[in-house]
Symmetry: C2
Subunit: 342 residues, 2 copies
C-alpha cells in the first residue's frame, strides 16, 4: 500500500521547503517561475491532492453543511426525505462540501440543535426541510447571520431567504385533471388536517381548484386524517359507505393511498380500473410522492424531482457562501407517474 502523499513529500521531492509548496498551492504568483514548475511537476508525479484542510485554511470555510434527518416512520413517506438526503450528499460533495446530520422532533428542538452545532463545529450553512407557517427556525438563523436555504417555501417568513420548493398544488391538479379526462366526476380527496400542514393545504387546493375550474362539485368527498396506511384505509371505507361514493380518490401521500387501495380492494381479487368509471366499479386511487412502495404495488402517484431539488439547494448555498447573487426562489414542477390504479 502506498504512503500518503503530503505537502512534505512534495517538498522533499522538489527539494524546496513546505512553505514553498504551500505558496505554489495558495499564492503561485509569489513563487519564482522555475521553482513553481518544479513543484508542479512533483505534484503531478506523486499524485498529490490538496486536501480539504488546506482549502479550508485558504478560504476560512469548513465546507460543512448540516441537515436534519427525520425519525423513521412507516418507511414509506420517510423515503422521500431520504432520497433528498442522498441527492444532497452527492451534489454537495461535487461542490466540495460535506453533510453533517442532526435530529430534532420539533422546530424548537431543532433550534437547540442549531445552537449546539454552531457552538461545536465550524459549520458553513444549514439546509432546512419541511418549512411551516410561523416557522421559528428561519428567523433564528437569519438573526444570527447563519447562511441557510430551505427545501420548502417561506410561507410567511418576514425576511426573504433562498428556497427551493416543488409546486405541490400543481401535482394534485395534474392528478385531478387526469381523473377528469378519464371520465371521473365523483373525485374524492384524502388529506392531512389543514391547520397542521401548509404543504397539505397546497395539495388539497390543487384538487379543489381543478374541480372548481371544471365545474365539478367536490361536495362531501373531502376528508382529513393524520398520515398512515390504517388511517387511509379507514377514511376510504367511510367515503365508500357514503350515499354517493366517489369513483376516484386523490391522496396527500402514498401511505394514505395505499390504505385507500386496501379499502377499495377489500379482501376480493382486484381488477384495476379500465375504461370509463362505473358506479360501484373499482375506484381509481392516486398517491403522492412516487415512493418505492407505489412502484411495487402499481399505484399511480405524483413524483417530486427530489434529486433536482437537492442539487438546486446546493447551488443556492454555494452561491450564498461565495457572495454571488442567487437565483431564488426555485419552484420545481412535479409529474404524474401513471400505473395501474388510475
Amino acid at each position: 500500500m502506498s504512503q500518503k502523499v503530503t505537502i512534505s513529500t512534495v517538498a522533499q521531492h522538489a527539494r524546496v521547503s513546505r512553505q514553498t509548496v504551500s505558496n505554489v498551492l495558495n499564492a503561485p504568483h509569489i513563487v519564482r517561475e522555475e521553482t513553481r514548475r518544479r513543484v508542479q511537476e512533483a505534484i503531478t508525479e506523486l499524485g498529490y491532492r490538496a486536501n480539504q484542510a488546506a482549502r479550508q485554511m485558504r478560504t476560512g470555510r469548513s465546507r460543512l453543511i448540516a441537515v436534519r434527518i427525520e425519525p423513521t416512520r412507516d418507511g414509506i413517506n420517510g423515503s422521500v426525505l431520504d432520497r433528498f438526503l442522498h441527492g444532497l450528499t452527492e451534489t454537495a460533495e461535487g461542490a466540495g462540501y460535506r453533510v453533517m446530520l442532526y435530529t430534532a422532533t420539533d422546530a424548537h428542538q431543532e433550534i437547540d440543535a442549531f445552537d449546539d452545532l454552531l457552538g461545536a463545529y465550524d459549520l458553513d450553512a444549514f439546509v432546512l426541510t419541511g418549512t411551516e407557517r410561523g416557522d421559528p427556525r428561519t428567523a433564528w438563523l437569519a438573526g444570527r447571520d447563519v447562511p441557510f436555504v430551505t427545501f420548502g417555501r417561506p410561507w410567511d417568513a418576514p425576511e426573504p431567504h433562498p428556497w427551493v420548493d416543488v409546486d405541490n398544488a400543481a401535482g394534485t391538479a395534474q392528478a385531478t385533471r387526469h381523473l377528469l379526462a378519464t371520465g371521473h366526476r365523483r373525485i374524492g380527496y384524502i388529506g392531512w388536517p389543514l391547520p397542521t400542514s401548509a404543504v397539505g393545504g397546497e395539495r388539497r387546493s390543487g384538487w379543489h381548484e381543478t374541480l372548481r375550474e371544471a365545474g365539478v362539485d367536490p361536495g362531501g368527498l373531502d376528508r382529513e386524517t393524520v398520515d398512515g396506511i390504517a388511517e387511509g384505509e379507514r377514511t376510504m371505507r367511510e367515503l365508500l359507505a357514503a350515499a354517493e361514493p366517489p369513483t376516484a380518490v386523490v391522496c396527500a401521500s402514498d401511505s394514505l393511498a395505499l390504505g385507500a387501495l386496501q379499502a377499495v380492494r377489500g379482501s376480493a381479487a382486484y381488477a384495476p380500473p379500465a375504461g370509463p368509471p362505473t358506479p360501484g366499479g373499482p375506484v381509481a386511487v392516486v398517491g403522492f410522492d412516487d415512493t418505492p412502495v407505489a412502484a411495487a404495488v402499481g399505484l399511480t402517484s405524483v413524483s417530486q424531482p427530489l434529486g433536482v431539488a437537492a442539487a438546486r439547494c446546493v447551488d443556492l448555498l454555494t452561491g450564498v457562501l461565495d457572495g454571488q447573487p442567487v437565483d431564488s426562489p426555485v419552484l420545481l414542477q412535479p409529474s404524474l407517474v401513471r400505473r395501474q390504479t388510475a
Copy 2:
C-alpha cells in the same frame, strides 16, 4: 428572542471572570466553594448549556463520526442502510456524537474519502458498512490507528477489529424451516452471484444447510442473479418453467422476492398460498430485509434488527474511544416476519 447564554453571560451574572466559569465547568475542585456555588446558580438561572466546543476542548475529541451513504438504487434494498443510518444518527446523538456523511462507489474510492476526510476534519472514528472478503478499507484504517467499527463481519481481515453483524444464514435457515414445516419439499433459492457477495454466500448457505439437515434435495432449484425486481421475475419464470418447479422460493432480497412474486402471480388474480402446497398451485415466496415494500405487498420476509445493530455500533465505538475493553463481536439474530406469501 432571548440572547444566547454564553460563558461571558454567566461570568457577568456571577460577577467572576470567564476563566473562573470555565474552571467551574472543567476543574471544579480548584474553585472556592462559595464562588462555585454562585457560578452554578448563575448557570441554572440563565439556563446555560455547556456546548460541544467546550466539551471538545476538555476531551480533545471532535465527537464526530463518519459513515458512507449509499447511492440510491431501487429504493427497496437501499432502505435497509437508510434505516441503519437513522438509528446510527439517533443513538450517536444520545452518546454525544454527530454523524457526517460521505459517498463512495467502491472500496478504493472510499479509502480516498477517508484520506480527504481525515485531512480536512478532526474525525473521531468511522462506521463501515458492507464488509467483503479482502476488504482493503479496514487494513487502511487500522494501519493509521483510526478507530472504526464495522456493520458486517471481518470475513478474512488479518487484524481483529470491533464489529456488529446480523446472522444472515440464520435468517434464510428460519425461512426454509418455516417452509418445510408447512409441507414444502421443492424449495428453491434465488440469490446473488457467489464470488461478489460474502453476505449472499451466508444467505444461500442458511437455505442449503437447512435442506441438507432435513434430508431434502435442493438439486436444480438454486439460481444466481444480480439484484433487482426484473431479475427476480425473470429468474422465477425460469424456475417455474422447469420440469419439476418449486412450490416455494427463498430470496436473498425483497427486490428479488417482489420480482419472483410477480412471476408467480402472472397477470391473473392471485390467491395467497393456504394449506399444504400443491403442484402447480400458488408458490410461496420469502424475501429478505422486511422492507416497507414487503409490508405493503404482504410479502413474508426476514427482518434484520437494524436499530439494535446501529446502537451496538455506537456502543462499541464509544467504548473504543473511551479506551474501554469492548464486548465484540456482536452477532444479532434476525427474525421471520410472516405475512400472506408464505
